[in-house]
Structures are given as C-alpha cells and as structure tokens.
C-alpha cells in the first residue's frame, strides 16, 4: 500500500470548509463534518493530511511531545475490555506481574534520557485500592528524587478522594480513555459504563490535572461511530488524545478482528486533528502494525504532534531511536520539559 499518494489540485468541499473553520477560526469540525472526512476518497487523503498538519502547526506549534509508558501492575484485571490482553476474564497468555520501584525509577531515567517529558505509570485495575495508591505515592517520590520528568498515571476509575490525592502528589496528567463511541461501548466493555469513564475524566479535569483521554479504533466500529467518538472526545476537551489502533491480542474476544486499513487510519488521524485543533494528538499503540514506517511518517505530517517512545505495556513499539531520528529528519523539535509546565 502506498501511504503518501499524490496531492490533488482540487480537494473536496469539506476540506475547503475545514480550512476556513478549523485552520482560520480554530473551531473543530462537527460530528457530521468529521464523517465526511472519514469518507473522503483516497485521492483527497493527502490534502486532508496536509490540512491537518497545517492546523497542528498553527494551533499547537511545531514541537512534538515524547512520552514513555510503563505498567506497574500487569494482567489480572477484573474488567472485560474486549481488546485487552490484561483482562483476567480471558484466556490470554499475559501473566500477572508487579514491577518493583527500583525498576520503575530505572525506566523513568531511561525514558527521560530519550528526551521524553512525560512518564506514565499504568496499572491494569478497575480502580486503585489503598495498596496501589500507596505504591504510586512511593513511586512518585522516588522518581522525583531521581529524575526531572512529568509523571502521569493511568489507574482506572477513581474516587474523588483518589483524584484529590493524585493531584496533591503532583501527578501532572491522568489518562483514562473513552476507547470508543458511546454507541459502541457496550459491544466492547460490559463490566463498567461509558458514564463511569466520563465521571473519572471530569473529576480529573475539575481537580486541575491535565486529562489524557484516548481512543482505540479499528475494533469493528462504523465510520459513523468513529466520527461520534471524535466528537465526544472533542466535547470533553482533553489536553491530550492518545490514538490507538487495534492490535488484536491472542485470547481476547477481538483476537480475530483484522488489522484496520492504513489509509482509514490516516483518515482518522486527520479527522481527529480537525475535531480538536489544539489538543495534543499522540501516536499510541498499534501504529506499527497498522501504518508501518511510511504511515508513521505520514501521520506525523498529518496532525500527530506527540509519540509514545519505545515499547507499550505488553507489546513492543518501534525502537526509540527510529522515532527520534524520524523527528530529526522531519525537522520536528522535541518539546522541552519547561514548555510542558
């Protein structure tokens, strides 16, 4: 598949509308407009990506934010998110394991050495218990003693007290994904509701932490539902949206779901940028399978302005050097720590 077809001279009318509305006025596209982007023919894809890139440069700047993520508690999750190999309800080969704090600090140092400004600690849980919260507090203190890097957390659904604790401990950003559109959510998760996810997201924002709220596309949702998701994320106004592409995991209900088409993935990148002109839009899991090297470059030139460097929680990413060298090749500076504060 060719990821970067020729730019057409006369792009479709929705792109003209988007140029005026999003680029010039900074107003994100509506759900129905986003659906038009997602339905663009292949010949208009380069123009859509170019516009998304212009929007990103105008409203976010040229910097790319680099983050590392790590699992402090892997596997054994009581929830049934159908895409996730860490659910204890599926016959997944992923075993439960806890990471000790010295290893966590070591990983934070290694991540910072790549130029990353964010280090996200993730636990596969419905929500944190007292034991996990105590470990997180201890981990935050040890990391802060050892290295300058913003600490983010992703610990599932929170109570108000837990939100307040994390904010008081200096957690910079909290991740809690919507994953998919409200209308498709019951097909993907049955052990908790969309509204419960929204509740945590809103509490995080109200407490003054930056909200990282992402999407996982390619789970069998329709284009309409993909547009719905982008619009629902835009309405939530997160600081960051990590964009994941399904990597079908053995033993999960979605293990036989095919890998989504690379051009559809690029259309989604453009659409999400045109929905949220000022949001940090981060490449997250699955891009290696869905987009490969050429598609990764196309996305960075099509609205993406952040990457997860190196590996993910249970799978491997591109080598860190490959992404960092690509940023150099594209003349995209890595966002510095002081600019994130």
């Amino acid at each position: 598949m060719t990821m970067q077809p020729e730019l057409q001279a006369n792009p479709g009318p929705i792109l003209e509308t988007a140029r005026n509305q999003v680029l010039e006025q900074g107003i994100g596209l509506s759900e129905s407009q986003l659906l038009e982007i997602l339905r663009l023919p292949d010949r208009d894809l380069p123009a859509a990506l170019q516009l998304a890139h212009e929007v990103r440069l105008r409203h976010c700047g040229e910097d790319v934010e680099v983050e590392g993520i790590i699992s402090i508690k892997t596997g054994g999750c009581p929830e049934d998110c159908h895409f996730c190999s860490q659910s204890g309800l599926f016959d997944s080969p992923v075993r439960g394991v806890w990471l000790d704090i010295p290893e966590l600090v070591k990983a934070a140092k290694e991540t910072a050495a790549t130029g990353a400004t964010e280090f996200c600690i993730v636990a596969a849980v419905r929500g944190p218990d007292i034991k996990l919260m105590n470990q997180i507090k201890f981990a935050i203190d040890r990391i802060n003693e050892a290295v300058d890097i913003n600490i983010a957390c992703s610990l599932g659904m929170l109570t108000q007290r837990q939100v307040d604790q994390l904010a008081s401990w200096g957690v910079h950003r909290y991740n809690h994904n919507l994953e998919t559109a409200r209308s498709y959510f019951p097909e993907v998760v049955t052990t908790h509701s969309y509204e419960e996810r929204l509740d945590t997201c809103n509490m995080v924002k109200d407490a003054g932490m930056e909200l990282c709220c992402g999407a996982l596309i390619g789970m069998g949702e329709s284009l309409e539902q993909r547009a719905e998701l982008a619009a629902q994320l835009a309405a939530l106004e997160p600081h960051e949206v990590p964009l994941n592409f399904l990597n079908p995991r053995p033993g999960t209900p979605l293990e036989n779901q095919g890998i989504m088409d690379g051009k559809d993935a690029l259309r989604a990148i453009a659409a999400f940028r045109l929905a949220m002109p000022r949001t940090v839009l981060r490449y997250a899991g699955g891009r290696e399978l869905t987009l490969g090297d050429l598609g990764t470059k196309a996305g960075l030139m099509g609205g993406i302005n952040a990457v997860i460097v190196g590996n993910y929680l249970t799978t491997l990413g591109r080598p860190a050097d490959a992404d960092l060298n690509l940023l150099v090749e594209l003349n995209m500076p890595i966002k510095e720590l002081q600019k994130t504060l």
């Binding site: 699992s71 790549t114 249970t314």
Partner: protein
Amino acid sequence: MIPHRSPGSTGSTTGDAATATTAEFCGHCGEPSDVGAGPASDVHHRCGERLAMEPPRYCAACRRRMKVQVTPLGWTAECSRHGMLAP
C-alpha cells in the same frame, strides 16, 4: 533494537535457562515448535513475525507462561523453572 528471533529461541538467558537450548515450544503461541507438515519455521512463521513486535509469553523449554515485564526501552521474561530471558 529487539532482535528478530525464531519462534522458539531462548535468546539471552540467565540461570537454568542457559541450559535450555532446545526450542521445544513456540514462545508466541506455546504450541510445540515442530507440529504440522512443514518445518518449524513455516508452521510458526506468523509467530516469528509477532515475536519481532512482542516478547515471548511461553518458555521455549517447558511451555510455562512466563512473567513478562515490558519497559519503554526493554523487556524481560521469566520462567519459574528456566530463569530469565531478555533481548
């Protein structure tokens, strides 16, 4: 850089795993590495591709599920019987 390995290879090991040089089982799917009509490299060709993108989950020597820890710049996989495996 994570090396591309054959499905059952044990890679760099410590402890007792150093003695487990025979790849009896596929590190990705856990099935015997020599099932099917073709040689192991054909039977588990897709597994080999996946192992370039994820750590092994099964011990190549005994098929036990391993404790795998992925970090931003590395990973380890530990079999309770055969020790630690790393890239």
